[in-house]
Symmetry: C2
Subunit: 248 residues, 2 copies
């Protein structure tokens, strides 16, 4: 049971403005909250329906939990089907430095939260620990992004910085690869573990200013040469195929 | 300007039940309608807002088009932002036979329309012309599926059939590959252009009955061995990485 006032406070976190002001964000769903509690994020509060606690998992036992009804959960959650667990956590204020010897993904204006979340989940699978977002990328702490990561938000460092000066600095110590429709085929190109790979916006690809910092243009070739075909790949799909080619 | 009765008829096509009964489906958005008109689908009707026609494209010129206001378009469309063009088309009643010498993707209970649409778009890019869906897959003609294909719905033959008897027949002429969390690494496994590749459900993977028809188990390896990582890849991502490995 939670107060109306509390419900309205939590619901404010559905909006980016209030997430920015408070430095908090929502984590929804059993698996995602489990991953959150297993990470270095600071957890403020956890709300649970009766169903959640039937599972009897040890990681929940030592936590202070507020029990809510399914109806209350559906009011504080952003999900269409109310989750069993919902947590409020603190956004990260500091992130570890980006090492020069690990692959890094750079996202230039990814605008769909589902795409960003899927890219983070895939990066986690391929052991890529650092993602750098341009300031105009969709927000990492957007509840749809967090949900699409399927818990991987807790494993990956998602940085946010203007890309051009950042990439100009990184160029001195590593290759900057950009994915374009014309470039060297990724089938022939040998990706290195220190490569930085840029994925562009869903509709417009990599912006001109960012493209100027690229040292190697790569492409995912389509074998369909003689017929009408898809004009491009989804950004999360392109990112995944490139990541699957990186040798660790 | 269209009648209330017409609007209500079109809105019925938002529901699967009425799409099934009528054998019709909706195609929304400029690009998608362009792809539709360039395909062998029979187009019943096209609705356009004024904006659409400013583009002055030749493929629209010879078509009978009903002009509607933005407000009317928002009522007949399933999209949050009303598209410039919306078409009603006939579902396919026959499909070409599946050739034995081309790669084929088999989907076992893919339940998310966005995933199905993205898989179709990616298959189009990789020149895979035939996709076979289990009867419990989400509907191909779901408007969200069609939208996520970004026009590729018009290029790909999407079949729907019980998988076990189908795969048992196909086994006599080709390899049946299944994607599992344990299997031979796709980095070492040579995919052939006649391979049939099965992708499983988002949560549960390939069902047991379907798994029994598999001749080769493959996996997309994660290099992250020593730390908590993503438990799996998104189904559309896994499908894309496998497709990118097929040699044509």
């Amino acid at each position: 049971m939670i107060s109306k006032n509390k419900i309205s406070q939590i619901r404010k976190l559905h909006a980016k403005k209030f997430r920015d002001e408070s430095g908090l964000f929502l984590v929804e769903g059993y698996k995602s909250v489990e991953m959150l509690c297993d990470s270095d994020f600071a957890v403020e509060e956890i709300f649970a329906t009766e169903n959640a606690l039937r599972d009897n998992d040890s990681w929940l036992k030592d936590r202070a939990i507020t029990m809510v009804s399914v109806e209350e959960m559906s009011r504080i959650s952003t999900m269409q089907t109310p989750p069993e667990l919902l947590a409020i956590a603190q956004q990260r204020t500091t992130l570890p430095e980006i090492p020069g010897d690990q692959p890094v993904l750079v996202l230039d204006h990814i605008s769909d939260p589902g795409n960003l979340g899927t890219i983070i989940r895939t990066a986690d699978w391929f052991d890529i620990r650092h993602i750098v977002c341009s300031p105009d990328c969709v927000e990492f702490y957007n509840p749809k992004t967090i949900q699409a990561t399927m818990g991987s938000f807790a494993h990956i460092c998602v940085h946010r910085t203007p890309l051009v000066p950042f990439l100009q600095r990184e160029r001195s110590r590593r290759r900057i690869l950009g994915t374009f429709l014309n470039g060297e085929s990724i089938r022939d190109f040998e990706l290195q573990s220190s490569d930085m790979v840029i994925i562009g916006n869903e509709s417009n690809g990599i912006s001109d200013e960012v493209a100027e910092t690229v040292t190697h243009r790569i492409t995912i070739p389509s074998p369909a040469r003689d017929r009408a075909t898809a004009e491009s790949l989804n950004a999360a799909i392109a990112a995944a195929i490139v990541m699957s080619h990186i040798d660790h």
